[in-house]
Amino acid sequence: MTTDSIPISVRGLVKTFGRTRALDGLDLTVREGEVHGFLGPNGAGKSTTIRVLLGMLRADEGTARLLGGDPWHDATELHRRLAYVPGDVTLWPNLSGGEVIDLLGRMRGGTDQRRKAELLERFELDPRKKGRAYSKGNRQKVGLVAALSSGAELLILDEPTSGLDPLMEEVFQECVREERDRGRTVLLSSHILSEVEALCDRVTIIRNGAAVETGTLADLRHLTRTSIDAELARSPGGLADLPGVHDLRVDGGRVRCEIDTTRLDGVLRLLADGGVQSLSIRPPTLEELFLRHYKDDLAAEEAAHAAASADREGRAS
């Protein structure tokens, strides 16, 4: 695979605003034809990355390639081939939603009126209302209809469903699947983990401006722990000594623990020897995955704080 066929390829991207380091050596690769989830807490740098990719912001260091071009220098050319929905669609107060959809479509080289009508119906959007009369969710719909009716080969969606109700979220997911089936590539930045789990082939999790995990959901699950809750005939021996077992709680015949997914095989064997009466195994949810990265971060911060204050106390005495 040459780099030209990779829609988005970002290496070591750095972007600072004054003293804040919004992006700190970010890597991101989005392959052709995939729906790529882009996850991270608020302020992690998701929107900054997207704005660098759109040529709105200029990167300080690192390389970014978009559809085989440079997102800053070739912005105009590249924008012919992509459509973008911001997380907060703002409309001109005196233009109707339909006018904005047509305007953005024409600027990208023409609107497909049939597709537009179909999307308006599916999203239940009245295109005659003026920009200031739309609610937050309806403004997002205007942005989504404009982008989805464009026929662009790359869709960049920055938390596109904020403000949409669950029914519309459903419609959105259908639309994204259809786009993928047409062979389009989607970068989907999102907070809604169920949405990412439902749609994305691969995900990248970022924190403090750097990617901390990237891969397929299966890959990521593999890296993390599976919960086991078992009822055994006999109290199991040696479970605590197995590598990869965490948070072991034994209460008579009831065993609960977290296991590194790679060590599942050995644990199950041991449990089977104990005479399994009931067993539930739950793979990690994306939420747990996400929270673990989040919590590690908090733990690290707390440790740093503790060390710093211990240091201060040490000097004071």
Binding site: L54, M56, P93, L104, Q113
Partner: protein
């Protein structure tokens, strides 16, 4: 009064947000007239010289049109007349302030955030009016002290202070009503400015023919006319104050009643649905630029045409004044005959038009900033529209729109004067040419605004300061006795005094060269910088 619950908190919020802006304009409004006293005293130290001034400049049509009547030849009266345009400026600032703290907040949705706290539905309006009117009263108090401190009578000083201070209150109340009528802040600003413009035009028509002319009764139809008819330093008529206060109170009551009847976010005038599809003309950056800017341009064109008609229609009475006044006739005969005074009048009036056109040009330019910081530029720039093309879609209004408004003003002025003296074929091109000669100076002001926007977007609003500085220098420069080097700061100082004087292209070419350099710097900066987002 639960409707006013939370007003105190809103007042503190407004004071916090306007902590620099409000003291700044208040101070300028006080300092200009206070400085006029010393400057006028220096220019006309004796009673005889002041009487001569009162019979010549003080009653010429330009002064009457712009500043209103001169009631007496005393120092105080002369200063009061020369300050006659300040109530208009204060009225404008007061309107914009009130709309900014009421309808703009509502349109942006911030009002809703506060409305969910313990805040009555009338609190935002009450707070905006209270703060703005209080600013007017502080101006009145400071002016009273400042004028009286320079030896002018206390009663007159108080009347003068209230003339300026109450202008703030009346037009704050007008804007309070306008802010209830429309959903959009832009439309509310437009309504307020239109009301101010109408009040000014009516007052101008009443006063331009001099004391006792057949139209002077019109002055009683305009709040700006009332304010001047308080007659500070010339037999104060205190009862006129009661009229001004009563009108303000009535407008405030109307605004409060309207505000109580409507929903938050809605206007009294219901919004209409728009078309479901865009017309073929809305087909790209320029189509959108036209859609966003054309309505304002039509408004400015109408305003310039009306102003041109008035300026041109009045020019004849300037000649008449010369005929009636032997002193003046002598002066202008020396200068080159009667036509010289009309030419001088047009030259000064055209630099006024130039200033207004500069205000238009800056507003058209700063639309870029509003679109960018309102995050409406981002989705456009994510399409194949490049930054320069997007900027050009607005700057075309800066350049051609300002030319169009000047042409409208110049054409109408030349036409009205031509019809009046029976020779439109001669007057139209002369006056139109004088109007168009302002264009390079207008563009230069806009180019400064563009340079600030491109290089330091956070300070874009400083573009208005450029208009204000050029305005103060052009309108008040000579009466404030400013040094030439200060006068030279305003690009309008360098525009040849047309009609009448020889046309020389050199200064205009210099202005154009500086404009091109600043504009190019601004565009280059804009192309290179990060988009300012949220």
């Amino acid at each position: 009064m639960t409707a006013l619950a939370g007003t105190g908190g809103m007042i503190r919020l407004i004071l916090r947000r306007d902590r620099f802006l409000m003291p700044a304009w208040m101070l300028v409004a006080v300092l200009i007239p206070v400085n006029f006293v010393a400057a006028t005293d220096k220019l006309y130290p004796t009673a005889a010289e002041r009487l001569k001034y009162a019979n010549t400049s003080g009653t010429n049509a330009t002064f009457l049109a712009l500043y209103g009547p001169l009631f007496d030849s005393g120092l105080g009266s002369i200063v009061a007349q020369r300050s006659g345009f300040i109530p208009v400026v204060l009225g404008l600032i007061a309107s914009l302030t009130v709309v900014r703290h009421t309808r703009t907040e509502e349109e942006a949705g911030r009002r809703e955030l506060l409305g969910a706290t313990i805040m009555g539905r009338g609190a935002a309006l009450a707070a905006a009016l209270a703060v703005t009117c209080a600013a007017g009263l502080v101006i009145a108090a400071l002016l009273t002290a400042g004028m009286a401190a320079q030896g002018l009578p206390l009663a007159g000083s108080l009347a003068f202070g209230l003339e300026l201070g109450l202008a703030v209150c009346v037009f704050a109340a007008v804007a309070g009503v306008a802010a209830q009528l429309t959903e959009g802040a832009g439309a509310a600003r437009g309504l307020s400015v239109a009301a101010l413009g109408a009040a000014f035009t009516v007052r101008l028509a009443a006063d331009v023919g001099g004391a006792g002319n057949g139209l002077s009764w019109l002055g009683w139809l305009s709040p700006l006319g009332w304010l001047q008819r308080i007659r500070p330093y010339a037999g104060e008529r205190w009862w006129v104050l009661a009229m001004v206060v009563a009108l303000s109170a009535a407008l405030v009551a109307a605004a409060a009643a309207l505000s109580a009847r409507r929903d938050v976010g809605a206007g009294i005038m219901a919004p209409r649905l728009g078309p479901p599809d865009a017309s073929p003309r809305l087909n790209g950056a320029f189509g959108l630029g036209w859609r966003l800017q054309s309505r304002a341009l039509y408004g400015w064109l109408a305003g310039f045409a009306a102003l041109g008609l008035v300026y041109g229609g009045v020019a004849g009475s300037v000649e008449q004044l010369v005929d009636d006044n032997p002193d003046l006739r002598e002066i202008f005969t020396k200068l080159g005959g009667e036509s010289a005074i009309v030419d001088a009048y047009f030259a000064s009036v055209m630099s006024m038009l130039g200033l207004f056109a500069a205000a238009y040009a800056v507003s058209a330019t700063l639309r870029l900033r509003a679109e960018e910081s309102g995050q409406r530029a981002e989705p456009l720039l994510a399409t194949p529209v490049g930054r320069l093309r997007w900027a050009a879609s607005h700057l075309v209004f800066t350049l051609l729109g300002s030319a169009a408004v000047l042409a409208a003003g110049g054409l109408m002025a030349g036409f009205a004067h031509g019809v009046d003296d029976g020779d439109p074929g001669r007057e139209v091109p002369r006056v139109l040419g004088a109007a168009m000669a302002q264009l390079p100076a207008v563009w230069l002001v806009a180019a400064v605004a563009m340079a600030i926007y491109g290089l330091a977007p956070r300070y874009s609003a400083a573009g208005w300061a450029v208009v204000a500085v050029a305005g103060v220098i052009t309108l008040f420069g000579t009466s404030l006795d400013l040094a030439q080097i200060v006068l030279d700061v305003s690009p309008f100082t360098h525009v040849p005094k047309l009609p009448g004087h020889d046309f020389s292209a050199t200064p205009l070419l210099w202005l154009l060269a500086v404009t091109a350099a600043l504009g190019a710097a601004g565009l280059a900066g804009f192309r290179r910088r990060d988009l300012a987002l949220g």
